[in-house]
């Protein structure tokens, strides 16, 4: 067990180094959230605020934009496995005694940390454009931890897809086609009470919605901790199940070798 933990750490350090060495990649992943906040947010702010849907639409939008950014970034995770298969790096790891699980968890740790970093940057942008989060630091930290969980879940699915299909196109498609529907089927853009009933029902079971609503607690003076804890536990369960699925995918990959 300790060997697996140490190896996961070394694999995560490797991925984090590569992440830090591509500042342009980080910058590129922040273009979309900035567009959502500054263009989409400013465009709909008068509408949402005049109808008293929310006091500050930018603040309302921020948790959802952080969630979408995490989904997009982690949805690409499987691409790295496909590239490493092609360049032989994955096989080079597999001929060593490294625990197979460490290859997965190392990457998940890197994904989790990098989406938290992206989340923090988006928060700073939101604060600079006038958003306020009276809920306090603790709920903000819990929200960011939940962002890490959804990234683990989504990166796991992306990894599994990459390992099983061995095709970059499949991974791109999941990242492209899942993120927006999941965001629209949540309260990212409007509160659930304004959604059509069927959408609101789906949103109730959508982990992305759980995440966004936990994030929205940061806007409130009074945090509903029982809501946060139950839905946070739900996100943890989703992340664990998805991570387990991606280790199964690894076995499939090795059998096909």
């Amino acid at each position: 067990m300790t060997a697996a933990v140490i190896q996961s750490y070394h694999m995560a350090v490797r991925d984090l180094r590569a992440f830090v060495r591509q500042p342009f990649y980080l910058a590129a992943t922040l273009i979309q959230p900035v567009i959502w906040l500054l263009l989409f947010g400013k465009l709909f702010a008068p509408l949402m605020e005049d109808t008293h849907t929310t006091d500050s639409y930018i603040g309302f939008l921020t948790p959802g934009v952080i969630a979408m950014t995490a989904l997009f970034a982690s949805g690409w995770s499987g691409m790295v496995f496909v590239v490493e298969m092609e360049q032989g790096t994955l096989n080079r790891f597999l001929v060593t005694p490294v625990r197979r699980g460490a290859l997965i968890t190392g990457r998940l740790i890197q994904q989790a940390l990098s989406v938290v970093l992206q989340g923090l940057i988006i928060l700073v942008i939101a604060l600079a454009t006038g958003a306020r989060f009276p809920g306090g630091v603790l709920i903000m930290l819990v929200f960011l931890a939940c962002v890490a969980l959804i990234a683990v879940a989504f990166a796991s699915l992306s990894n599994a897809l990459g390992l099983v299909t061995r095709s970059q196109e499949s991974v791109i498609s999941i990242a492209q086609f899942l993120v927006l529907p999941l965001a629209f089927l949540s309260s990212t853009f409007v509160p659930r009470r304004l959604m059509p009933d069927w959408m609101s029902t789906i949103a109730g079971g959508n982990p992305v919605n759980w995440l966004v609503e936990i994030g929205r607690q940061t806007l409130d003076d009074h945090v509903d901790w029982s809501f946060v804890l139950t839905h946070g536990a739900g996100l943890l369960a989703v992340a664990l199940v998805c991570a387990w699925l991606s280790t199964l995918a690894f076995r499939v990959y090795q059998k096909q070798a």
Binding site: R17, R92, V95, P97, V98
Partner: protein, 324 residues
């Protein structure tokens, strides 16, 4: 030879891929410890599959294989501790520096601390990479990458090192350098398994070799014994004009020690036992049959001929019309 002294024992390996391609059809060979073993064969002969099974990347359908005394099927984790592997497609991480690649590789084997640092420095020095150790690998030349690949295969001091086409794409100087390195490794007791397309590479380095063709071992032995098994030297005679094939064959059939006669256009090829002694008789037999000789070449058997004899079938069957 007892099992103790064998680095690799492969018995009756078979594997058919899910798409129906039969990659291995009963492969058996063994490799003595501390030797260089060459695995030759045309593309698709089963070399890569054999190496994948021996390095625990895939499992055979049947048969057994032991590497460094450990069974690849029942104890793959132990096999992995003892092997180093330099794959055909470079496994180095282009987004990391040379030193980071080596250190990570060592860590995956449980090495660490000052010992690992010193060892990594030693390898960088030995492969002439010290100056570029801090540079990202994506800026390396092909030759530098290959050296780093080999260094990474050695980071945990393996007992068996697999080198899959290690000199493909290297310039002659880098190739010669790597050959010296491989020979030096074998001298320190590492067993080296070398798959290669280059016959002179196998001839130069391999103590024993196996030729694979269509998933079977078609020849297995030392380069010398395989060449001897061809019986005699090769003689190529160029005539002034194309002979009547039967006339040429009749003229040579009674000459002592001549066999494997091939007539093609103006050329007659044959194998001659003790070529230097028997070639004059061959030439005079041709002259007395009225066939004028333009030139003659006598050469000792080469590994190319061994290879063509055993594995040329696939190649030849494609171009049968051309040969006959």
């Amino acid at each position: 030879m007892s099992g103790e002294n064998l680095a690799i024992e492969v018995s009756d390996l078979a594997k058919t891929y899910p798409n129906g391609v039969c990659a291995l059809d009963g492969v058996t060979f063994s490799v003595p410890s501390g030797t260089v073993f060459g695995l030759l064969g045309p593309n698709g002969a089963g070399k890569s599959t054999t190496v994948k099974i021996l390095t625990t990347l895939t499992r055979p359908d049947s048969g057994t294989a032991r590497v460094a005394g450990c069974d690849v099927l029942s104890d793959p984790a132990q096999v992995r501790r003892h092997i180093g592997c330099v794959a055909q497609s470079s496994g180095v991480d282009p987004a990391a520096t040379g030193r980071e690649n080596l250190v990570l590789q060592g860590r995956l084997y449980g090495l660490g601390g000052g010992g690992l640092r010193e060892h990594v420095d030693g390898l960088l020095e030995r492969f002439g990479l010290s100056d570029v150790a801090g540079r990202l690998v994506k800026t390396y030349s092909g030759g530098m990458r290959r050296k780093l690949d080999v260094a990474m295969g050695l980071v945990h001091q393996p007992r068996v090192l697999f080198l899959d086409e290690p000199t493909t794409g290297l310039d002659p100087e880098a190739r010669a350098e790597l050959w010296r390195e491989i020979a030096a490794m074998a001298a320190t007791g590492i067993t080296v398994v070398l798959t290669t397309h280059y016959l002179e590479e196998a001839d130069e380095l391999a103590g024993t070799l196996a030729i694979l063709d269509q998933g079977k071992v078609v020849a297995h032995g030392t380069p010398e014994s395989l060449k001897k098994a061809l019986h005699g030297d090769s003689v190529q005679v160029l005539l002034n004009e194309p002979p009547e094939e039967t006339a040429a064959r009749n003229a040579l059939s009674n000459v002592e020690g001549v066999h494997d006669i091939v007539v093609s256009g103006r050329e007659i090829g044959a194998r001659v036992d003790a070529g230097a002694d028997n070639a004059p008789a061959l030439l005079s037999a041709l002259e007395s049959a009225g066939l004028r000789v333009a030139s003659v070449t006598l050469s000792a058997p080469t590994l190319d001929e061994v290879y063509l004899r055993h594995a040329g079938r696939t190649f030849r069957s494609v171009q049968e019309g051309h040969i006959r």
